[in-house]
Amino acid sequence: MIEVTQLTKRYGRHTAVQDVSFRCEPGTVTGFLGPNGAGKSTTMRMICGLTLPTAGSATVAGRPYRHLPNPGRLVGVLLDASAQHAGRTGREVLTVAAATMGVHRRTVGEALDRVGLDAVAAKRRIRAYSLGMRQRLGLAHALLGDPRVLILDEPANGLDPEGIFWMRGLLRDFADRGGTVLLSSHLLREVEAVADRLVVIGGGRIVAQGDKDELLAGGGTLARARDRAALRGALERAGLPVSDGAEGLLVPADSEAVGLAAAAAGIALTELRPAGAGGLEQLFLTLTAEADAPRPAETVDQPAGTGAAARPTEEAAR
């Protein structure tokens, strides 16, 4: 439903987004993950036609966003919960949006109920709203036109744990009824619980994407031996990229390849198991640490396929 093809955005000499491609299918929640400044918001703004891409394209339901006749009835967008006129009341913000989209005024009250903003809160001006209330209002705004697609940038920001739990249920339910959800976050744990697919972005490039389960499992293999350096040497000789994990060596290969390489070198393994989420987590930490530093240009090119195409530990190794 959302298709992003080789999107690139350059500001002068700075490249904010480089060659980003991914798809979001109906019935799924796609988590768009990356540290702050990785290019998530820029990508989402390009999808919504608010920022013109330097190259590449994005479509929603097969059309560029700017060509959608009445986008609010197809796509619910929440890019910045604070981007509302401070002097309007919550109810007024929704009333204006409803009038624009041609949605019956009655839906305003329903939308407010749905996100848990009571009559008192609805009458207050946005100036007096907490960030959590603004997020709730933003979600109400996004849901107002009864859309098929949701595009949400950091919707969990400012929500309390109860609010985050509620929002997960809402998004899961939306996708289970055939909707398409793209939500961004800079916290892996936050989207892990609700996303079916993950797209990980760092330094403006996609570094991993695929099914969440495959990605989390595809964190490679964790291997341990008494002589860590020897094991590392053996694995490297076998052509396997190795990185240091907290518990042992992380290898982006299945346990069979690692076991064989160790056996060939005559090393007894003390532990050999799937690294689990550790790989992705480590990739994520690496990205966050590197967020300030410019990244080397040779990052993997990801085909916009459906299968898991992650090479997390390869990234983490650098």
Partner: protein, 259 residues
Amino acid sequence: MTTTASTFEVTPAAERRPSFARLTLVEARKLVDTRAGRWLLITIGLITAAVVTLQLVYVPDAEQTFVNFFLSSLFPVGLLLPVLGILSITSEWSQRTASTTFALVPRRERVIAAKLAALVVAALASLLASLALAAVGTLVAGATGGAGTWRIEGMLILHAAVFQVANVLLGAGFGLLLLHTPLAIVTYLVLPIAWSIVGGLVRPLHRTAEWLDTGRTMEPLFGTEMTAGQWGRLGVSLLVWLAVPLLAGLVRTMRREVA
């Protein structure tokens, strides 16, 4: 890859583009649904009332006519209407509502056109307010010994309409071009002062000012008759200060990144 688009069920409502009338109504609503906008409109009304009241008290009885009440209310209103024009455009950016607005209506030129239409409606409404308050003034004048004459030339009302519509659109043009509230307001207010100073000091500019200083080209609108030459000068000045900023501002808005 494109097959998913055809199998995807798009509701009919999503295919119905909001009409221009609908967008204009929305923009008109946005002029009054914030405290700032509402108070600006209330202020315009209060100032008009104050001007009429002052006239009732201080102007000689013989001059307390409908025409005079009406004309003298035009100027203060004409000073505030541009501010309304500026705010309606720039607040989208200063309050960052532009991203919401353009996400709902991605054809930005339609939003801008609807804003301009709503502003024209507001300017005409201010004219009605001026007429109504002038009528009240005339009634009171008639009862308190003033002239209370009702005669007014239709042409004068038409001129007044041109004056107020031009004023509100001048503001919108500045707002659209500069996209920054204080900058647009200051520029708009300083420009006529600059004209009168520079135009008065620099001799070669004196003739230019006759064509470009809107303060001077609009003056004849306060009379009942305007020559072709006066219309021409008004047209040229509005082309430079209204049409050009509007167009340049529109181009800027179309391309601008919405953060």
